[in-house]
């Protein structure tokens, strides 16, 4: 059930719309349904302005139409003034229709070319019985024209005789004529020049204040959104990339996509290099989940040495807000905090201990990036002498430890806008190396765990990444023969992967080589590794 305290005028939870794809329809068969958008959460109160931002094709117009129930949502819940209107029929909607209005992008297309302006504005008044007769409605229409800053004498003109800016005001006058509480404005200033744009935006803002309107403002222009909205949600390919208060979104975007949208707005300041930043859309990875590391808060386990330590240093360099560096013994990582005061905070954390994890989760509620790096490797075979207890120990850290951390921090990540979980696995998640067979088993379990968590957190937009390096030059693989990659290289690959939204990365030649080999000839690789037996 929806967690609405009733103060919202409009509230959507996991809202989705699918429409029939008529282009792919086959004869005598129903057209296949294509999702236009899904899993959209939004809420807006009276007097508030909510911005919906996205490129063309992101589903923002369809979302706007669904909010005023011009379309019926196919999944999720939509509340209007506390009432569930997701699946109401048109006749049931009729009584609340006069409380929601939409203003369309193209005013010339939205107005009947054969009706005079005063006629167009008075139509809703007549349709909803808000005026006794035509004459009364007309008089009211002139009052409305004055209210939107138009000369009432324009009322006798036809739409073709007015400019784009004037027509958009007429549409606004028509929308507010029946005193709705919700207005959805779909790209209403994109066809106007700078000066008329400023006038229309100011008018809308004044009306919102004066009439206590709830405004949903759809636009692809982020500068415009900043100047009028309180809250923003960003859409990409029908998914919610991120949402939040407008000031935070523009100064501290959490997602790379939001950042790239902001940077694509040309500010009126001469700068020849701005054009060189244009990127072609060849990025692989998940554009929706690709994260903006700058300004985030990260927590890393197992920072006393190796990859964990390098990750802390790499994150500090890439402009994070704060890093919680954790290790079993606080004393091992004190130097990290000392060399980066205010930036790195150290924490003693044992991932095999529930109480310790809960305390950390409570203390670090602002985490947006969780890196599960801690793990152990006993360099032991499955049938080796130290038997079942040793295997349990590895499982306890590598699998259950990671699971505990994911469970403990998932709520915080959700609160902070989705974020990212990175699980440090190994290429040995994919293939057994008998030399350390019991490690392989725990890492394979952790890989399935990662995939499961990814699926469960998909709707929250959490990036869940599996990092699978080969042999890394750390204490853990001291006895392992070369080639080994330096831990700093793994750390760099992890950060690059987060920025690109990769769900699986294989840093180093050994890992990528083994992966190719496993794809081509898995049995061959298994046989080759079978030669490395525990001593």
């Amino acid at each position: 059930m929806i967690d609405s305290d009733g103060s919202e005028l409009i509230c959507a939870q996991r809202l989705g719309v699918s429409l029939p794809n008529l282009a792919a329809k086959k004869r005598f068969q129903p057209a296949p349904m294509v999702p236009i958008f899904r899993d959209i959460d939004l809420r807006a109160r009276k007097g508030q302005c909510l911005g919906i931002v996205g490129e063309s094709g992101s589903g923002k117009t369809t979302l706007g139409r669904a909010l005023v129930r011009l379309l019926r949502p196919t999944s999720g819940t939509l509340l209007f003034a506390g009432r569930d209107i997701t699946t109401l029929e048109e006749t049931e909607l009729r009584p609340i229709r006069d409380r929601m209005q939409m203003i369309f992008q193209e005013p010339r297309a939205a107005l009947n070319p054969r009706r005079r302006i005063d006629d167009a504005v008075s139509q809703p008044l007549l349709a909803y019985n808000k005026a006794g007769n035509v004459r009364e409605a007309r008089e009211h229409a002139y009052e409305l024209l004055r209210q939107v800053g138009l000369d009432p004498s324009l009322g006798k003109r036809y739409p073709r005789e007015l400019s784009g800016g004037q027509l958009q005001r007429v549409c606004i006058a028509r929308a507010i004529s029946i005193r709705p509480s919700l207005i959805v404005a779909d790209e209403i200033v994109s066809g106007l020049d700078m000066s008329s744009q400023a006038q229309v935006l100011n008018l809308l803002d004044d009306l919102r204040e004066k009439l206590g309107l709830c405004l949903v403002f759809i636009s692809h222009d982020l500068s415009v959104v900043r100047s009028i909205c309180d809250e923003v949600i960003v859409l990409l390919d029908g998914r919610q990339v991120e949402s939040g208060p407008v000031a935070r979104m523009f100064t501290q975007p959490r997602r790379r996509y939001t950042q790239s949208l902001i940077q694509a707005v040309p500010l009126p300041e001469p700068d020849g290099d701005w054009l060189n930043d244009a990127v072609d859309e060849t990025e692989n990875g998940n554009r929706i989940k690709a994260m903006n590391i700058e300004g985030t808060t990260a927590l890393i386990t197992g920072c006393s040495r190796g990859i964990g330590r390098e990750l802390v240093l790499a994150l500090v360099k890439s402009g994070v807000k704060k890093v919680y560096a954790t290790a079993r013994n606080n004393s091992d990582i004190d130097d990290l905090a000392k060399s980066h005061p205010g930036l790195v905070e150290t924490l003693s954390l044992d991932i095999t201990d529930d109480a310790s994890i809960h305390q950390a989760a409570e203390q670090c509620g602002d985490v947006e990036l969780l890196i599960n790096n801690a793990g152990i490797n006993r360099m032991s075979g499955l049938l080796a002498a130290d038997g079942i207890d040793g295997a349990r120990l590895e499982m306890e850290t590598n699998y259950f430890g990671t699971l505990r951390m994911c469970r403990a921090f998932a709520p915080a990540l959700k609160n902070n806008g989705g974020g990212c979980i990175v699980n440090m696995l190994s290429i040995l998640s994919h293939v057994a190396l008998p030399l350390m067979g019991s490690l392989c088993a725990s890492k394979a379990a952790a890989l399935r765990l990662t995939e499961g968590v990814r699926a469960e957190l998909d709707a929250n937009n959490t990036l869940v990444m599996a990092v699978m390096p080969g042999a890394v030059d750390t204490d853990m693989s001291r006895d392992f023969p070369p080639p080994k990659i330096p831990p700093a290289e793994v750390a760099k690959a992890v950060l690059d992967g987060i920025i690109q939204g990769q769900e699986e990365i294989f840093p180093g030649e050994m890992a990528s080589g083994l992966r190719e080999g496993l794809k081509a000839d898995p049995k061959g690789v298994e046989k080759e590794l079978a030669g490395y037996l525990p001593g």
Binding site: E55, S56, G57, S163, G164, D193, M194, S195, S196, Q197, A198, Q199, L201, N202, D205, H220, D221, L222, S223, V224, V225, R226, S227, I228, V246, A247, F250, S260, L261, I262, A264, V265, P266, L267, P268, E269, P270, D271, G272, W274, L275, N276, D277, A278, V279, D280
Partner: protein
């Protein structure tokens, strides 16, 4: 540096019944070879009309009352007959505003590009096809063969605009009039398309008159800028100078009207009505003095 385009004291009016309504009032422009010049104004300022004078595609009702347009690098004989624009001005191209209405919806892209290429080259169909492919590759279209077989409605807005840019550059013009080519696109596509125009322009030394109402785009793309209101140029200069220290109150006012994502929320200040009226009054005064 040699001038590519000189507009000298151009006056243009539109005949409405018995009266001539002035549209352009003494426009002076001098574009050196290889410059991107921004032409900025609100709707109704006369920007598009100026572009049409330069392209020589004026509507029949428009009359040039004085002044002229000159291309020092391409002095051809004045046009005598109303044939296609390309034959009259083979060295000028247009990138239009709306990519959907500027392409013929019932002809494949290949055919439309071929029509233009055939005017410039006497080649076989096969060679024309290859040329068209090459031009599409230059605008970073990855599958040119496929695009040539498609109809305009099958392409996205950004792709259509790329096709039009390819068409504009395909006749190897020395001057291009770009009439709000990115107004219909969203920001990230706009940035890529602008970069494409800039890169092609730099590579070939083309002179571009970039008509727009977006001062942000001008700041990032253009070398110099002219600001127009009611058919007059109010301010002209290097982009860096005009944006740093605008001299005309109208320029200042336009710059203030732009919403900015890097500033906290505040009321916008549209160009004041007083200023608008004053500018219109000045234009009327100008007309009166000319008549005397």
């Amino acid at each position: 540096m040699t001038s590519a385009l000189v507009v000298h004291d151009l006056h243009l009016a539109v005949r409405n019944g018995q009266v001539l309504l002035p549209i352009l009032r003494g426009i002076n422009l001098n574009l050196p070879q290889g410059e991107i010049h921004g032409l900025v104004g609100e709707s109704g300022a006369g920007k598009t009309m100026l572009g049409r004078v330069i392209l020589d595609i004026l509507p029949p009702s428009a009359v040039i009352t004085s002044g002229n347009v000159d291309y020092p690098a391409h002095r051809s004989s004045p046009s005598l007959n109303r044939k296609s624009a390309h034959r009259r001005r083979p060295h000028i191209s247009l990138i239009p505003q709306d990519p959907l209405t500027s392409l013929n919806p019932v002809k494949r892209i290949g055919k439309q590009m071929g029509e233009i290429l055939r005017l410039a080259h006497k080649d076989s169909s096969q060679q024309i096809h290859e040329r068209a492919k090459q031009h599409l590759r230059e605008v970073k279209i990855r599958n040119p063969g496929q695009v040539l077989q498609q109809y305009p409605h099958q392409l996205s807005g950004g792709m259509r605009q790329r096709v039009l840019i390819a068409m504009a550059f395909s006749t190897e013009p020395s001057i291009i009039i770009a009439d709000e080519p990115t107004t219909a696109l969203d920001v990230s596509v706009q940035q890529r398309v602008l970069r494409l125009i800039r890169d092609l322009q730099k590579e070939r030394g083309t002179t571009i008159l970039f008509v727009t109402h977006d001062l942000g785009v001008v700041a990032k793309l253009c070398d110099r800028v002219s600001l127009m209101h009611s058919g007059m140029i109010l301010e002209q200069g290097k982009v860096s100078d005009v944006f740093q220290s605008p001299s005309h109150p109208y320029t200042r006012s336009l710059l203030e009207a732009i919403p900015r994502y890097d500033k906290p929320r505040e009321k916008l200040s549209p160009v004041a009505n007083d200023l608008q009226t004053q500018l219109i009054r000045e234009a009327d005064e100008y007309d009166r003095q000319r008549r005397v």
